[in-house]
């Protein structure tokens, strides 16, 4: 059974008074512990799909099944418990958190809101979460704005896994990181996926990053799926015009290794 199945999803907005489809007839599914990448040029609808899947916005038409249940029809209480099982990590954790909050506070919230641990137990859980993402437990006392971008993204991941999700939506989560930090974060995500069997909806405009971590890829163009399939096969031999353009535009580092 798939963790997430999206079918015929559509979302229209208005631009210059005229309606246009930001997302148009999009269908895909993601299995347990699978990474599905969404690629496409800017404005192709990637973030809109992320927000639809997170139910931050409602689709005009279409269906979303999460862990076998009709996600769009869930009652308020059921939605709340489902929300714990779908988490997110965005490009800029500074925008997602109150920069003056401490790291500990940021991790305390989900544990409290979703009744995952008692007040007495939470400091220990927070320490364990920090260690799980490769951070020192002592970081809990620091303010979000005091730590580095890479550390912040690890905190965002710690927060996402606090509620034992089966799916994490990552929208350009590694795009702003330096390459060395990016590599470490990607390794961490892969490790978590193997240990906790988390599925990822992994949004990136960078095919190199996608190829490194994704099992399958969906390439979007103007809100529609241009092509999809095995990530490596599609990137090695794209069939759609936009897929070919994306591959051609990716900077190539040609090294003659000795």
């Amino acid at each position: 059974m798939s963790v997430l199945a999206v079918s015929s999803l559509a979302k229209r907005y208005h631009r210059g008074g005229k309606p246009f489809a930001a997302v148009d007839d999009v269908s895909f599914d993601i299995g347990p512990a699978e990474t599905l990448a969404l690629a496409g040029p800017s404005g192709s609808g990637k973030s809109t799909i992320a927000r639809l899947v997170l139910r931050l916005i409602e689709p005009d038409t279409g269906r979303i099944d999460f862990e076998g249940a009709d996600f769009l029809a869930l009652s308020c209480a059921a939605l709340r418990s489902c929300r714990a099982r779908i988490q997110m990590v965005f490009q800029d954790p500074l925008a997602a958190f109150n920069p003056h909050a401490t790291v500990g506070r940021v991790l305390d919230d989900p544990l409290r809101i979703h009744n995952i641990a008692s007040r007495a137990e939470r400091p220990r859980r927070i320490a364990a979460l920090l260690e799980r993402v490769g951070l020192d437990a002592g970081l809990a006392a620091r303010a979000i704005h005091e730590i580095s971008g890479g550390q912040r993204q690890r905190v965002a991941i710690a927060r996402a896994i606090a509620t034992h999700p089966s799916l994490i939506v990552l929208d350009e989560a590694v795009s702003a990181l330096d390459v060395s930090v990016r590599g470490q974060i990607l390794e961490l995500l892969l490790d978590l996926q193997r240990q906790e069997r988390i599925a990822y909806l992994f949004i990136s405009h960078d095919l190199g990053v996608i190829r490194a971590v994704a099992h399958r890829i969906v390439i979007l163009d103007s809100g529609r799926i241009a092509e999809s399939g095995d990530a490596r096969a599609v990137i090695a031999n794209p069939q759609s015009a936009i897929g070919k353009a994306l591959v051609a535009a990716t900077p190539k580092l040609i090294r003659n290794r000795p």
């Binding site: 971590v213 990716t250 190539k252 090294r255």
Partner: protein
């Protein structure tokens, strides 16, 4: 090739909240006339500081020493200045929404002209002025043209940067353009007064891959057509290697390595350069998924 400018023992220290932040430490390098030089390094390594120092645009209060000598033998004592619009300080890569506008073109002492393209084109474009007028303004001020001549030049520049429908684009406002189109306009304005040096500081970092490739191709073409020298600043070693003749690698404010692109990419001398190369995730790299032996 002769040196367009020679940087010797350049040091920059910023002062912030009573503490001193060293941003460049004794950097020496020559920028050769007509070359495309890439400056690479991770965020905070001092790339933008180097660019600002060359342009004479460091914020007031920065402590600067060393020399920057231009080809004609004029010594430009690198110093901190207060430019017409003061550069705002943003930690890491700027995110836009900048209040003070960043200048597009500078005339240094001795008439050295530099065109500057920043990551966020909105930071150097006036939101309430038609783009044709903004480009014409640069040409008029620095080339002493009449408005009429300057507008003619602006239109030619919009054609040269391949903005669709240049005639109506002259009257468009920045918000009516996409991110890539705005960057084309910023480039047109930066080259409007025929600078001998064009500095592009992460000029494509906020753009998607396809638009980035178009802008890099545009910069390459304009630099070749006008015989400009290019300093191309990027955190992306693959992008830098695709464009530059030579690459300088900065780390923690120090110049780690400088060499021909081929040498840097194939035979890096410094372990840090090799680490940057190895961290690149190309379309031919071994996927991390395989390295970890994981699969769904």
């Amino acid at each position: 090739m002769t040196a367009l400018l020679s940087i010797r023992d350049l040091g920059v220290v910023y002062r912030r909240d009573g503490s001193e932040v060293p941003a460049l430490k004794s950097v020496s390098l020559d920028v050769l006339a007509g070359e495309r030089l890439a400056i690479i390094g991770e965020s905070g390594s001092g790339k933008s500081t180097l660019a600002l120092a060359v342009a004479g645009l460091l914020p007031t209060g920065a402590l600067v020493d060393g020399t920057i000598e231009w080809s004609a033998g004029q010594l430009q004592k690198p110093r901190s200045v207060t430019p017409l619009s003061v550069l705002p300080y943003t930690a890491g890569r700027p995110e836009g929404g900048v209040k003070d506008r960043q200048p597009l073109h500078f005339r240094l002492i001795g008439g050295r002209d530099i065109g500057f393209v920043f990551q966020d084109p909105s930071s150097s474009l006036d939101p309430v002025m038609p783009i044709g007028k903004q480009i014409a303004e640069v040409a008029r001020t620095h080339l002493h043209l009449t408005w009429r001549e300057a507008f003619t030049r602006a239109k030619i520049l919009l054609e040269r940067v391949r903005l669709p429908d240049p005639d109506s684009a002259l009257h468009a406002y920045p918000h009516q353009l996409s991110g890539g189109q705005k960057q084309r306009v910023a480039i047109a304005a930066a080259i409007a007064a025929e600078p001998m040096l064009l500095i592009a500081d992460e000029a494509t970092s906020a753009l998607d891959t396809i638009v980035q490739a178009e802008i890099v191709a545009l910069i390459r073409r304009l630099v070749a057509e006008d015989g400009m020298t290019l300093i191309f600043i990027s955190h992306d070693i693959a992008l830098a290697a695709a464009l530059a003749d030579r690459i300088a690698v900065l780390r923690h404010g120090e110049l780690i390595e400088l060499g021909e692109t081929r040498q840097i990419v194939n035979a890096p001398r410094h372990a840090y350069t090799r680490a940057l190369l190895d961290a690149h995730l190309g379309l031919d790299a071994e996927p991390l998924l395989d390295r970890q032996g994981a699969s769904a």
